[in-house]
Amino acid sequence: MKIRARIAGFSRSAGLIGLGLVVCLAASCSLPGKLTGERYALMIGISEYISPTIQDLGYPKDDAQDLGALLDQSGWNVDSSTLIDTGAIKAKIKTTMETYFKAIPSQATALIYYSGHGSEDGSEAYIVPSDYGGTKTSLISTTELSLWIQDYILPYTSNVIVIIDACYSGGFVPQSDSLDIIDPDYDANFGSSVSSLALTGLGDLGVLLAKNLEQSGKLEPIVMSASGSEELSWESSSLKHGVFTYYLMKAAESGDTNRDDYVSATEAYTYAAKGIDKNWNELYGNSAAFYPHITGGLRDLVLFDLH
């Protein structure tokens, strides 16, 4: 009887411990905790170019400063004054990236935002610094930006978000484990082509499985672009911003789809992409249609903390 009582007691204890473990696991995994990690954003906005041969833009400076203000309200440490307009020359962008992110705490979240002209040459995409002098070397290519991120940010943190609001900026977005079925020169209603997505995926199943195998699980930067690698990105005098940045900022108000008081980079991307498709692409049609892109991978990062 004693043995049985002990066994019964043990079973009850084990059951309670098991139940406790499950509850603790579920609670620790599912309840959104407060963000304790620090976040640092470097904003680049170039409305005014040094060379008179390059047409100035209307709103990149406002894009960088207004999105910077929104991030600031959301708990980010923001620099939105160093790399603005003619101050954002190529050499200064490089040195500022080097010094700014060197000073951040380990594993803080780092964000680089760029709004301005973009370019491409068929093999690479480029962002156009304010001192662009007509040569390819005075641009910042995808290769260069990747190297700068690798050298100046990744040694300190793997939590990196890159946002580029520029023409052809899809060229900066690696697809990682996925195939991006949104055309780099978007001209169809993405929302209505869900069945074609499945077919595309099935047709490329072998490629997709191979891409999945190649992944090491290393945390890569989350990159989002305003447009595809073969299309223009637009600004609007009625929105007084780049169209993508306008809807990205709106995502801070309305993009929290799962209502957890955090807007992740993917949630913000989705809100901006749908906003552009519904409000811009439908209005202006295929000639001015564009669609944002984002990197693949399992990991996401909080962009706006609404608490």
Binding site: C29, L35, Q175, Q215, T270, G296
Partner: protein
């Protein structure tokens, strides 16, 4: 010597559960089609991140079949159904599923929501038929394991990816009236996705046409 009061009760339940006589028990059909769904959650992890919990759902349609009766039944030659014996079973299933984003970790990292579909093939064993205690319904237990391929899309994006998975399934079939059975199932999936892992478990209910 004091008699254990639980023993007679246990004997009674066991004899009710595995009674080989007393009428027809669970019919182990040659094949059966089932449609069902349920809730699930994924414990998702990447090497450099903490594990995250992603809640989700699953719906599936499956074709189950009996491969081989373990024991010859006296009813083998009576209508093609094997009763009250262990059997090897198999199953082909088509799933659709969705997983929500995990809650953010303190450093701001979280796991993305994803959705998709997949095809799986499982093999296993089913218990002899027995009567469900209390309900009195003919029932049987099953356990199956196998593999599958998943085609997924990160929710809200155009990013399509694919990954392999080990699949498992524990079932309790209850015959609610010829030819229908209600099946309570515990699905299990171990997926290798994007350099990380997702261990998915859940609970579901399906209706099986025997």
């Amino acid at each position: 010597m004091r008699q254990n009061p639980v023993a007679p009760l246990l004997c009674c339940v066991l004899s009710l559960c595995f009674a080989p006589n007393g009428g027809r028990l669970f019919a182990s059909p040659g094949k059966g089609l089932d449609v069902g769904g349920g809730a699930l959650f994924s414990l998702t992890s990447l090497p450099q991140l903490e594990t995250g919990l992603q809640p989700g759902w699953n719906a599936n349609i499956g074709l189950g079949f009996t491969l081989l009766p373990w024991n010859k039944s006296k009813n083998d030659n009576e209508g093609g159904r094997t009763e009250n014996s262990f059997s090897f079973i198999g199953r082909v299933q088509l799933d659709i599923f969705g997983l929500g984003a995990s809650a953010p970790q303190s450093d701001g990292n979280l796991y993305r929501a994803w959705q998709g579909g997949g095809l799986g093939m499982l093999f296993g064993a089913a218990s002899p038929g027995f009567r469900m205690p209390l309900l009195g319904l003919p029932a049987r237990l099953g356990i199956e394991a196998g593999g599958g391929l998943r085609l997924t899309k990160y929710s809200g994006t155009g990013l399509v990816s694919a990954h392999p998975a080990v699949l498992g399934r524990m079932t309790l079939d209850m015959e609610i009236g010829d030819p229908l059975a209600l099946e309570l199932f515990l699905p299990f999936e171990w997926a290798w996705k994007s350099g990380g892992q997702a261990i998915i478990v859940g609970l579901g209910l399906s209706l099986r046409v025997l």
